[in-house]
């Protein structure tokens, strides 16, 4: 990826972080102000907009009926997709998902899937034949860094906002009944990303920090203090002790966010 900030600024950011100072005045472990709005798209079964500083992500969920996977015949299906639409950054181009949007979607997917956030067994209509398929579409509207955390948070907020039609089975046919019920949610994973810049670990990097970082690492943790998913990215490395430190910070930050949100 080509950096769009000057070398002078890159150097300045790196030097400041070495002294534990950040451009926007945050401490190294401070998270940006997070705003969540749910139910912003009426046509979607569930939706949410997350603002993480200037980063903005909208997630909409849709539910369809489909076939289960052969190895999980009693469980509904989760499908996550991410679109880095050109509206959000001068560096995004229209076209089929590139490796960055695929990685983003798969990180969000893993956090939800591995934490068993959705009670997928309740989404089974007819074992082995018919289940509900939950589509989670991540739409990045403005990119100012840390899309992973914003997307993961928006996805969870949208799932918590998701309503399913009630149904009954009549002569083997699925009939939709009036009324809605909430999508069954069991866990509330929260993903926290840290960037390594020089010798320092920085929570919730902004875009300019991402452009100077050596590497990043993201942890999804649940309310029982378990880690459910991890992804290292970027062309640098972490020492083992940095990984363990990052894990502790991520868990602590996730708990703070969870407390604020009452999740």
């Amino acid at each position: 990826m080509v950096a769009v900030i000057t070398r002078v600024k890159q150097k300045q950011i790196a030097q400041m972080i070495a002294k534990e100072k950040r451009l926007d005045g945050r401490e190294l472990t401070d998270y940006r102000e997070t705003k969540i709005e749910q139910g912003i798209i009426e046509r979607a079964e569930g939706s949410a907009r997350v603002r993480l500083g200037k980063t903005e992500v909208v997630v909409g969920t849709k539910i369809e009926m489909g076939e289960p996977f052969p190895d999980t015949p009693n469980e509904g299906v989760l499908t996550v997709n991410a679109e880095l639409v050109p509206i959000a950054s001068p560096r995004f181009e229209p076209g089929p998902p590139d490796e960055n949007s695929i990685e983003l979607a798969r990180i969000v997917d893993r956090g939800i899937r591995e934490s068993k956030a959705i009670d997928t067994e309740k989404l089974c209509i007819e074992p082995g034949k018919k289940v509900f398929v939950i589509f989670v579409d991540v739409y990045v509207l403005n990119h100012d860094g840390n899309l992973i955390d914003a997307a993961a948070l928006a996805a969870m907020a949208a799932l918590l906002n998701t309503k399913m039609s009630k149904y009954e089975i009549e002569d083997g046919e699925v009939k939709i009944k009036p009324g809605y019920e909430q999508l069954p949610i069991k866990k509330h994973p929260i993903t926290v990303t840290l960037a390594k810049i020089g010798e320092k670990l920085v929570v919730d990097p902004v875009l300019e920090e991402e452009q100077v970082m050596d590497a990043r690492i993201s942890f999804a943790t649940d309310e029982d203090d378990n880690i459910c998913a991890i992804q290292k990215g970027g062309s640098g490395y972490f020492e083992p002790k940095e990984v363990f430190e990052a894990a502790k910070i991520a868990k602590q930050k996730a708990n703070e966010i969870r407390k604020k949100l009452n999740w």
């Binding site: 960055n100 695929i102 990685e103 459910c228 290292k232 062309s235 894990a247």
Partner: protein, 249 residues
Amino acid sequence: MNDKPEKLIDKKGLRLDGRKPDELRPVKLEVGIISSADGSAYVEHGKNKILAAVYGPREVHPKHLALQDRTVLKCRYHMAPFSVQERKSPAPSRREIELSKVIRDSLEPAIFMEYYPRTMIDVFIEVLQADGGTRCASITAAALALADSGIPMRDLVVACAAGKVDDTIVLDLMDTEDKVGSADVPVALMPNLNAITLLQMDGILSLDEFESAVNLALEGCKQIYTMQKEALKTKYVNIKEENKEEAEE
């Protein structure tokens, strides 16, 4: 399809394939096996059979990707249609695209990228047979192929997974353990620099379990690292012996 074993570890503490929790599968490494490539390697890790080839540094294609101050590393992880139980479409899946990216991220820290501005290095990985832990075996193979091509490197990169099955932290998960077990933590390491260049996880682990899993995976990496160096040496020993035979003739 649903022949999930009830227990992954028996009363004696042994795993489905008879291994102890901290035991690697048999690993076989070979270097320089594709004559057309600038560097190549073959890895057998358990039932995984993986080829890696390096082409480059060479002209950048497409040209606009060229960087003025360093080389561009490209990586393609690809599974053969016959490498898994049910035929896999040869078109790249989302999983393969993600793995190509994380494998590239794991190799880049080892390469002196600034030595070859305005060029491209291609790393191609073909999984001929998959048995759990293909990304790790791919990294082990790709790093060997890079070293074999003569591109200057800070260190080799070696990868191995650890995870949790039946409440036990185990090293090097095979296919069934990966699918049925409760967590998988692939780790890539540059052993001399103590630098982790790939780290992923899926499943559920406490912080303590996570630390033990990473530490166990790092031990596994170090064991394979010794074999990697041996494989590189073996190639040159073989060349020397061939030359000797020719001279004697």
